[in-house]
Every structure is written in structure tokens, then in C-alpha cells.
Symmetry: C2
Subunit: 141 residues, 2 copies
């Protein structure tokens, strides 16, 4: 599989090398494969993940701690597929999945809440914008 060194990743994501290592340290980014000498080798998947983190951070305004919750929920599920998948106890399994499902439902609700508030904010700004444009018109008459 194609891999990238940290400087490449830094350029395509816009993050500094320091930040990329920091995110790994926090557990936001899964650890990479290393070369014999210890250099990190990133895959395309790592890059996608980093882009998502940036979105969540800059656009949604989440703290790294909140993002960690999001990430862990996904990992929990993906990890589940291989580790718990083969368990015999369907009860345990279902209970586990339901926990994850509840978490996701809450996240969705939280996002909707944010979008609503954002739309509200936008309306307010648009109204101001409208009034300004009117005022400009009035300077022309």
C-alpha cells in the first residue's frame, strides 16, 4: 500500500508536523507503521482522518477532547467487528452495540442543535445585511 512521510502529510492537510504527532499522542490519530529506523509512514486513511479532525475542530468548533469521543466511538465499532464479532454471546453483543447506537444518536442530536443555532445566527446577519443594502440605496436617491 502507498505510504507517505510526515512532511507530505503536513503539506496536504495543512497541519504542522508537530500537530500531527500531537494528535497521535492524544489518541486522535491511530499510530502508523514505522520504518526500520523509526520513521512514521502514513496511509491515505490517516490523511482522510486528519482532514475530518480539522473539519470538526475548525468548522464545528469541537475541542480535541470532544473529537476524541467521536473517534473512539467509531473505533469501538470498527474494532468490534473483528474482536467481538465472533463472540457466542449475542446478548452481550447486542447490548454493546446499543451503547454505541445511543452515543451516535446523541451526537446527531447535538449536531442538529448546532445547525439550528447556526441557521438562526445566519438569519440575524442576513437581516443586518439587508438593512445595510437598503441604506446604500438611500444614498443614491
Amino acid at each position: 500500500m502507498e505510504t507517505y512521510k510526515i512532511d507530505e502529510v503536513s503539506k496536504v492537510t495543512g497541519l504542522t508536523k508537530r500537530t500531527i504527532r500531537y494528535y497521535e499522542e492524544l489518541g486522535l490519530l491511530m499510530s502508523t507503521q514505522r520504518t526500520e529506523g523509526g520513521m512514521r509512514l502514513y496511509t491515505q486513511e490517516h490523511i482522510e482522518r486528519l482532514k475530518q479532525i480539522v473539519s470538526a475542530r475548525d468548522v464545528l468548533g469541537f475541542s480535541l477532547q470532544e473529537i476524541l469521543d467521536f473517534v473512539q466511538l467509531r473505533e469501538t465499532f470498527e474494532g468490534h467487528r473483528t474482536s467481538i464479532q465472533n463472540t457466542e454471546d449475542a446478548e452481550v453483543k447486542r447490548h454493546y452495540l446499543q451503547e454505541v447506537e445511543r452515543g451516535l444518536a446523541q451526537q446527531l442530536q447535538m449536531i442538529d442543535q448546532k445547525m439550528e443555532t447556526m441557521a438562526q445566527f445566519r438569519r440575524e446577519r442576513e437581516q443586518l445585511h439587508h438593512r445595510i443594502k437598503e441604506a446604500i440605496q438611500n444614498t443614491l436617491t
Copy 2:
């Protein structure tokens, strides 16, 4: 007009007294009337403003510096109505207004950009949610 002391304001906005004073210090919140002894007296308008600031901070993820830009743009316009309104030079006036208009247009575009990314993020989460629910169904069959 009805006024409130800082502790009241703290309770209804959820902000600490320290934070409220800090926002005033930064210029995010217009200064209040004071009592003879120097105590701040807030109006309903101050409270509304604080709620907006909290939204912009928590929901939109804006930094206080960004919020300051938003606030100043509004103040600039509101202040304009009384101070520049009566100027004779319609040229100066219109130019001024157009500056403000450009700023607002940019803000709107920025908000739309954020909403778009947020919607994208939501879709991704929803898809994951869907897969989880499917997996739960599968434990029942």
C-alpha cells in the same frame, strides 16, 4: 429601565462573573451604567448580547477575536446612524456603507461554508448510525 446586577446576569447567561467582566474588558460587551459606588448595572440588551456571544463561541466555534470583529461591524453600523447620518458628504457615506456591506457579505459566505461542512459531517455520522442499527437488527435474527 430595568437593570440587573452582575450576579443575576451570571445566573441567566450561565457565564461566571469573571467572564462577564472579561468580555467587557475585551470590548465584546458594551460598558454598563454604574451605581454611585461603582457597581455595574446591566440591561436586558446586555443579556441578549451575552447570549449571542455564547452561541457564537460554543456553537459556531468562533474565537473571541472573531466575535469581536462581528460585534464591531454591527456597532460600526449602528453608530453610523447617529454620527455619520447627518454628514453632508453622501460620497463618504456611501463608501463607508459599502465597506460594511462587503464585510457582511464575507461573513455570510463564511457561515454558509461552515454549514456546508457541517452538513457533510452530519451525513457521515448518520451513515455510521445507519450501519450500527443494521448490525443491531442482525443480532436479533
